[in-house]
Amino acid sequence: MTFELTADQRLFQSTTREFLADTMSITAVRAAGETEAGFDRGWWRRAVELGWTAMLVPEQWGGGSVSGRPLTELSLVAEELGRSCAPGPLITTSAVLAGLAAGGERFAEVTGEVVAGERIAVWAVYEPGHGLEFPVGATVPDIGTRLTADGDGYRLSGLKDRVEAAGQADLFLVTATGPDGPVQVLVPADAAGVTVTPTWTLDLVRRTGEVRFEEVAVPADAVVHTGAAAAAALEAEIQVAAILTAAETVGATDRAFDATVGWMFDRYTFGRPLASYQALKHRMADNKTWLEASRATAAAAAETHDDDPTGAAEVVSVAKSYVSAKAPVIVQDCVQIHGGIGVTWEHDLHLYLRRVTLGRALYGTPEEHRRRITDLITAA
């Protein structure tokens, strides 16, 4: 998405790229994959010093974007993360920050800690057996997790899965059904009654987990949003997560595509390079076209959101559905064109395939977002 960036944005992009090149080479990513957490908190603290977590947060709380285009700029980071298959809870944290930023002054302090990388806050929205539940008007369908009144505060019970970086989290932003409809509450990971179970995730370094809340005591001031505001916040969080996932997926696909074009010039069969065979040239022409279309739609989603977040729902679903459906097709074709080496552990291609497959699965599958587009247009 290197289109029409300002000088400041380009600088930000290159700083991010250099940081990742220095600290997260593919070798380093593979090594991180051997660790339990998938990433090191010290590394994350250094990373966020570059401004990765500041974009969605008001300036008076220690946030701020490079030039007032937060999603465009965050997308640059996500794209670089995809290009390097790097770890880090950027997407989930950004979703949480979008929710907290809308929660008012009361959350300024905790937001500051998350921005500084001192605490990691992740988003707990999924429930077993359910897809992403998109807000419908002021409500959110089927939230099994319950928040019930208990004295001055509440109790939270339920099970969330597909929680990114669950094992590394200090805080969960949990969506639940409260006494008056949907709510979002902020729950510390070490609260009594919270159990985190790591789950298997295809990506080498980006982990997910299951989080059980059993009669967890939630003080009244941990309620971030209720009712219509909770539905609106969830919508905003979904959009942020979807935009960033699309951008990250574009980055990973771009790398796999470039590597494959390079390979096609190096690899010879029957005395000529793979790049000279029309059957393969034509497939790469299609892949190139889909990749450029992916770039265009991911950038358009970020741009539209920066212009006016309230009107962005459809474009965001367009981008997420298109990019996350096409990327695995492109990267799988890259595997095929690599031949046998493409399915070895040794070759890096599978790291990109892992990343785009995870990107397809999380924050609304293409099918979910397509149905949402139709919901949006037939409701209008």
């Binding site: 029409e4 096609m264 790049a275 770039r295 950038a299 559905s321 149905r371 247009i377 037939t378």
Partner: protein, 406 residues
Amino acid sequence: MTELESVEEFRDRARRWLKDNLPAATGRYSGPENDDVWDRSRQLQRILFDGGFAGICYPKEYGGQGLTTAHQRAFTEESFEYEMPLVFNIPTLSICAPTILDLGTEDQKHKHLTGVLRGDQLLVQFLSEPRGGSDLAGLTTRADRDGDEWVLNGSKIWSSGAYAADYGICLARTNWDAPKHEGLTLFLVPVHAPGVTIQRIKQVTGSTEFCQEFFDDVRLPADSVLGEVNGGWAAASRLLFHERSAMGGTSPYMSGSRPRLSVDLSELVELARSVGRLDDPSVREDIGEARAMFRVRDQLVARVSRQLASGELPPPASSIVRLFSAENAQFQIDKAIRIAGASAATAAPDGTGRQLGIDYLFRNSWSLAGGSAEMSRNVISERLLGMPREFAADRGVPFNQVKHGR
């Protein structure tokens, strides 16, 4: 230089003018269905010209408005609800006239561009031949010099709308001793000149818009040459660039046409409702996906257009939008067929459903017209990704020694 009118002021002025001067559109435009369309379009184009809204991105000295693509876009949006001279768009306004603007002499520009913008001239393309369209430079229609004149012989085919047009931009061979790309010249041929015979060809849709032309000793004056004698390949390349832009949707010279090439979304929703399947989740996925493809296409067109204009992407990148547009058009038709079920091939007594089946028959026109999708894939792989060119048995060989067909 005088200040340009702002896009918003222009839009307001256009909106008021359209309301006062053009009738409301009737139904979806899907090509010239009957011969009256041409005369009607000429009248409409003249109304636009007199009102100061013809050729928004064409220079003023040739009858245009000298405005920007943003003005054109605004006008196009405002004009959706009105009857517009849409047959002028492809190829007259978006392919042929821009080529004349790029390559023509002053006289040619005054004569043809002003003629087009006033609604007096329709232009068509005489490129493809019965023995092949993809290998355009392999053509065998010939033009031989005779004193100050040229004498044209041969045949062109698949020319859309030629019977109703005034001039055809015709690529012909003028030197048989040179390799194929070096012996070509582009001409402006009067469609109804003595020696030109036009036959209409019926398409699978039933339309007879397609034509084949036979040239028998057609005499052309010296000033019919567009560009350089024997420099026809470079000239044709300009034309093909405009053609890709037109087919892909990046051309600034189209006016009033919706940025879609076939079935539109409200039609899919309507279709699903009419066959009682709007609540089917798989149908809702199909509709959402179809909508997404349209929007992605628009986003791609916008982005690639900006990158072509800024030089960030080289001209062959226009093939990306050309290829995507073909894919999208077919995708939309395929989705409609899936949603329609049996209604795609059988119609109710009132005819509902008939158009869809016919669209389906003509589905591949989107990846053939304006150069095939395969040619676009060659351009993308060879000229954007730098991959080796396909083997050509005629490269560097004098054309009169090249083998043609079995």
